[in-house]
Amino acid sequence: MKASKVQAWYTSKQRREMFDRALTYVIVTALAVMFVIPLVWTVSSSLKSNPQMYIFPPVWIPNPIQWENYARVLQEIPCALFFKNTLWITILAGAGQVLTAAIVGYGFARFKFPGRRVLFMVLLGTMMIPREVLLVPQFILYNNLKWVDTFKPLVVPYYFGGGPFTIFLMRQFFMSVPTTLDEAAKIDGAGAFRTFWSIILPLSKPVLATASILSFQWHWNDFISPLIYLQSRENFTVSLGLRMFQSVAGIGGVPKDNLLMAASVMALLPILILFVFMQKHFVRGIVMTGIKG
């Protein structure tokens, strides 16, 4: 086709729209594949025999498929213990975070008190403090309390409102709940806490679910706090265990990159499974607060 013909073909409105649309699909698909390839490659690597890891061109489908890589990871590091520790921290901290954030959020949404605006601004202001700035003094504090190498530094602080993002999320939700419900409960003689607990909270399941997911993601993936506070292996979380495995896998002998990939897949799996079932809440949480755990 000559250039003029191409141009004529393209100027037809219908064809142009079709062409643009096809182009969009091609670009979006290519980009999406690029985002997923690293994960596919990881799963593939995790099932390879050691020699297959290091051949050119890359092998995508392992032959033979070595499921025993996963069994070997379980032998080399106490995965079950690390999973148990992480789950324990995640649940204990998450429960405190969601519950106390709901209480505080309700306080900011429903009650008028002197200084409310200022205090809320302070709360929002704490979002701007990089937590790295607090690492040293908080470590000193927990060190003096003899909390280091226990789960306490990773759990207890979350029973105090659970951080500005979660409180903000809750408050925004409660602002959208009509106050008529509170007033009706008040007329029936219910106290403030009772109203909150048995009228408002049961209505708040969507936001509680969103906050729980965010909290789970945050605590499950957290690395820097466990790194600082947990020292003995018995207390390690999955992320710490993975880092430990990274350092031992690199020492002498046969390289264990395939096992390292298997261990990484195991660390990814719980959060991916949760994501499959709760995708809506993940998306909502991110859109409303914009944080990554």
Binding site: L39, I103, P137, L242, F282
Partner: protein, 294 residues
């Protein structure tokens, strides 16, 4: 009168968990760290007042301080624009009328929810100079291999690449929510007036999206200044301190060398820089951020 006092009391009671937590776990430590930053402290004994020594040491005596600051600024300068522009483009692509939107969205978003340690290990494997997937693919299409994480020149761009992959989908989601909030009638009106694609982008999309843009920008800058885990796992600051980022340097001083005083001074300097940048953005944002309700 009595009812309002009662209400105030109840309000304070409800927010008291946060108020106590703020005093004990945030404000207290913040002030204490200011004090420690003017002293020498190794966790044993008590802090020994040394005045401005730590600050003087950071600013005038330690070449690693400037090195780590320079590395961090380089990372911020690469990461922030690329992640903002990239995720905005992704969001605009996905905001078209295409099928399978949720599937695409999930594919972009999945890296954002996974543990950073695991994804970083994955990337270390992909970016290996020998037998790394990326280099093997480059070789296949006839391009020279790149010594990604192991060269001083490529190490920071490599970490930017990892970070874009890890966070791009999430920033995209936020943009997507912003785009979906734009009133479609504006575009229809522009179509009637014969507005071009670029005109629509600069005169409708960008102004209407500016609050979302500001939000993403601030979050992106703060998190880029605090880059830590990826570098800690992938390079440990190497090669030759090429990826020694500020927070990594702070971490080493505090938790490997136990120089709590010096590390606190570093933390405060970081706080001041990040705070100044954030305030500056809010001030500048008055010129370019458009709020519909005003």
């Amino acid at each position: 009168m009595k009812a309002s006092r009662r209400q105030a009391l109840q309000g304070y009671l409800f927010i008291s968990p946060w108020l106590i937590g703020f005093l004990v776990f945030t404000l207290g430590p913040l002030l204490y760290s200011l004090y420690v930053s003017f002293s020498e402290y190794s966790l044993f004994g008590s802090p020994y007042w040394t005045g401005l020594d730590n600050y003087q040491r950071a600013l005038f005596e330690e070449p690693l301080f400037w090195k780590s600051l320079k590395n961090t600024l380089y990372f911020v300068a690469l990461n922030v624009p690329l992640s903002i522009i990239g995720s905005l483009l992704l969001a605009m692509l996905l905001n078209q009328n295409i099928r399978g939107k949720t599937v695409y969205r999930t594919m972009f978003y999945i890296p954002s929810i996974t543990p950073v340690v695991a994804t970083t290990l994955i990337w270390v494997w992909i970016l290996r100079s020998d037998f790394g997937l990326l280099n093997m693919m480059l070789e296949k299409i006839g391009l020279p291999a790149v010594p990604w994480l192991s060269s001083t020149r490529w190490a920071i761009p490599s970490l930017v690449l990892i970070s874009l992959w890890e966070i791009g989908g999430q920033r995209m989601l936020i943009f997507l929510a912003g785009l979906q909030g734009i009133n479609q009638e504006l575009y229809e009106a522009a179509d009637i007036d014969g507005g071009s694609v670029l005109q629509k982008f600069f005169h409708i999309t960008l102004p209407m999206l500016s609050p979302t843009l500001l939000f993403n920008l601030i979050i992106s800058i703060i998190s880029s200044f605090n880059v830590f885990t990826t570098a800690f796992i992938a390079t440990k600051g190497g090669p030759a301190n090429a990826t020694l980022f500020y927070v990594l340097y702070l971490f080493k001083n505090a938790f490997e060398w136990f120089q709590m005083g010096y590390a606190s001074a570093l933390a405060w300097l970081l706080f001041i820089v990040v705070f100044a940048v954030t305030v500056l953005q809010f001030v500048l944002s008055k010129r370019w951020v458009y709020y519909e309700s005003e």
